[in-house]
């Protein structure tokens, strides 16, 4: 149990807490931005990848594309992107966005495919065009699920984002590895605890919002 005693007590000097707070915020921002961008593209691609909304030649390649996007782990995507666009939060945002598009896009497409066919036909019968049918026959049925799935993805992306510091995307993960490598375990402990608080807070918020939706 040496590693526990090494970390005790966590370093609570103002300076360390400030670093923890600031970098945890960056981690949170990376996750939020990545999820937002990813969610937006996922809505568009998810609609087009639903086999009841578009012809085969549209939805089939898109399904494959989404599968590829979600098959690459965020950490590996980030490693590659850091090489491509340089160190910093930007490749992190991109990595999270890409993985989220693949993941959410597929879930959104599945949602759309279970949307009630009959309403689609009723709207078509009234003379609605494709956009109007999506807006009135599909969207009202899938919107609560889309919001809920996106929030759930956000919870996961915050954890992913914390790890991205390890490969040079900044944020709290960077300091956790930094303190770990310099054997400064009490400071590392502070960082982990700050991260824990942030993750729990966002989870709680997300759970509350999702509960309201149903």
């Amino acid at each position: 149990m040496d590693f526990v005693t090494d970390m005790m007590p966590p370093d609570t000097t103002g300076e360390i807490l400030a670093i923890g707070w600031e970098t945890a915020l960056l981690t949170l921002q990376i996750a939020l931005l990545g999820t937002a961008i990813g969610g937006l593209f996922a809505v568009m691609l998810g609609l087009l990848a639903a086999n009841n909304l578009t012809p085969e030649w549209v939805h089939h390649p898109l399904k494959v594309l989404l599968a590829i996007m979600r098959s690459i782990p965020v950490l590996i995507l980030a490693l590659v992107l850091v090489r491509a666009v340089g160190l910093g939060p930007f490749p992190g945002v991109l990595a999270i966005a890409i993985h989220s598009v693949g993941n959410l896009g597929k879930l959104f497409a599945d949602e759309c495919e279970t949307a009630f066919e009959g309403v689609w036909e009723a709207m078509d019968s009234a003379g609605a065009n494709w956009w109007q049918k999506v807006r009135f026959a599909v969207w009202p049925q899938v919107a609560p699920q889309i919001v809920s799935l996106t929030l759930y993805r956000l919870e996961m992306n915050i954890r992913e984002s914390a790890v991205l510091g390890l490969v040079g995307c900044g944020g709290i993960g960077f300091y956790i590895t930094l303190y770990q490598r310099s054997f400064n375990y009490t400071c590392m402990c502070t960082m982990v605890l700050v991260m824990l608080v942030i993750v729990l807070a966002v989870d709680q918020l997300s759970v509350q919002i999702r509960k309201r939706l149903t």
């Binding site: 003379g127 109007q132 009202p140």
Partner: protein, 272 residues
């Protein structure tokens, strides 16, 4: 415009096949403006297929379907969409937009005529709203306008669907078993409303009905389908039990007047 006494719907030498299975085989069938027609027949007779073919959703294997002067197999896409917009559909399961109010649902009937882009943001013109409001009044749902449609009773939901079709201002209304999900009293009310609305708007109504007894009460012409063929086409008063036998022979008996002995038999079969 077509001449005054041209048929609203004209079906000639129609054949609809699904694979090798013949779903419809009709030599000639015409419906004139203002008619209220009931189509009866056992399950699988082709009632739904006929309505969908009239709407232009089912492509005939052979033959001609002309609706409001337009031949489905000899027109371009835009002409087809324009005429399809003048045909309203009513479904057994209502197919209302969930989580939307009665008013929003009825406004959906305007989607084909309103400003397309504005409608995507839920914005409709004053004229659209007026048409929708009048339709809601016609079906008697003024008090529920702002209630979510999925919180209404089944009968009220079908009224919303009727209001939506009224808002569409169609010249032909096709209703596929509109009351099969409702109890008999509500069903009769909804059919009364449907017939009234059709008359009021000088439209033509074609109803698919499972219960011949209902058909007799509400329509002024009955078409009997069996295995995709027309076996009866006459006034409802001419529909005798014998003729009904011919339509339903070999299928689950649906007598005009409920016969308790058959009810008992089918119960026994369920038990066995």
């Amino acid at each position: 415009m077509a001449e005054r006494n041209a048929p609203v719907i004209l079906v000639e030498h129609l054949r609809v096949n699904y694979g090798r299975r013949v779903a419809l085989c009709i030599d000639q069938l015409r419906f004139d403006r203002g008619e209220c027609v009931g189509i009866i027949g056992p399950s699988g007779a082709g009632k739904t297929t006929l309505l969908r073919a009239i709407k232009g959703y089912v492509r005939p294997t052979r033959g001609k379907i002309e609706v409001l002067g337009l031949n489905w197999s000899m027109c371009d896409r835009s002409a087809r969409r324009r005429v399809q917009r003048r045909i309203g559909l009513i479904f057994q399961q209502f197919h209302l937009v969930p989580r939307m109010t009665v008013l929003q649902n009825v406004l959906c009937g305007r989607l084909g005529s309103t400003h397309r882009l504005k409608s995507l943001f839920g914005r409709f013109s004053a004229e659209d709203k007026q048409i929708a409001w009048r339709a809601i009044c016609e079906v008697g749902l003024q008090e529920q306008v702002h209630q979510r449609a999925d919180t209404l009773s089944g009968g009220q939901q079908q009224r919303v669907a009727i209001a939506r079709v009224v808002a569409q201002q169609p010249e032909v209304i096709l209703a596929d078993e509109p009351v099969s999900n409702l109890d008999p009293v509500l069903g009769a009310e909804v059919l009364t409303l449907l017939v009234e609305v059709t008359k009021h708007h000088d439209a033509t109504l074609i109803l698919n009905l499972h219960q011949p007894a209902l058909a007799k009460r509400f329509v002024n012409r009955v078409v009997g389908l069996r295995d995709g063929r027309i076996v009866f086409d006459d006034l409802p008063s001419r529909l005798t039990d014998d003729q009904l036998q011919e339509v339903y022979l070999g299928y689950e008996p649906t007598p005009l007047y409920r016969d308790d002995s058959t009810a008992g038999r089918s119960m026994a079969m369920v038990g066995a």
